[in-house]
Symmetry: C2
Subunit: 129 residues, 2 copies
Amino acid sequence: MIPDRAARLLSGSNIAHFATVMGDGSPQVTPVWTGVEDGLVSINTAEGRIKHRNLLRDPRVAVSVASPSDPLDAAAVRGRVERIVPDPEYRHADALSRQYTGLDYQYRRAGERRVAVYVRPERVFVMDA
Amino acid sequence: MIPDRAARLLSGSNIAHFATVMGDGSPQVTPVWTGVEDGLVSINTAEGRIKHRNLLRDPRVAVSVASPSDPLDAAAVRGRVERIVPDPEYRHADALSRQYTGLDYQYRRAGERRVAVYVRPERVFVMDA
């Protein structure tokens, strides 16, 4: 369901950008790490963040990623949050962090409750080369 | 109005990601080049593109940018399209292209009508270092 080029961009070390919709219907977008598992795009965030509050209200989201070395190597996904999995042991955060940095997640904060968010792509665009 | 760190990220050669809202209220986000002029964030697109159709319908947009070499060096903007300027001579496209690549715009297509889109930031977030 995710074309190879998009999957490669979303499962490497390219910073992606994750868009949600605010309560007033306006868009919001911030940088994220992304992984790909079983045809779903995953990100990790913390409970209470703007993106988390938004996707609880409206599960429709979008993700965009481009290679910094070749901006024509880019992909965008529109889809829907299929599930949100609490990540108290930082397993998902550690896995994404290792994918991007080679190290376990370095930004633990006391009291922060991390969650893994899995997005089912509905439209995937791969940029024309 | 745009903090220095955000302005630097948005007026350099970092690929940014531009979010709009689809007619059904879901978000859409794609990579763009961005410039900063007189407190506005500018992008260049073509008439008829999804983002162009969306911002004509709803001028509320968002932009996210991160340094590929340091993802904690990142900024996000939420704002509103203030004006759309036809760019038939590719002046704005050339200026952005030179900013990013050092060359004039290389992707002219017959029949394509480029436009410069200027966004008034309403909220600017700079990531905690």
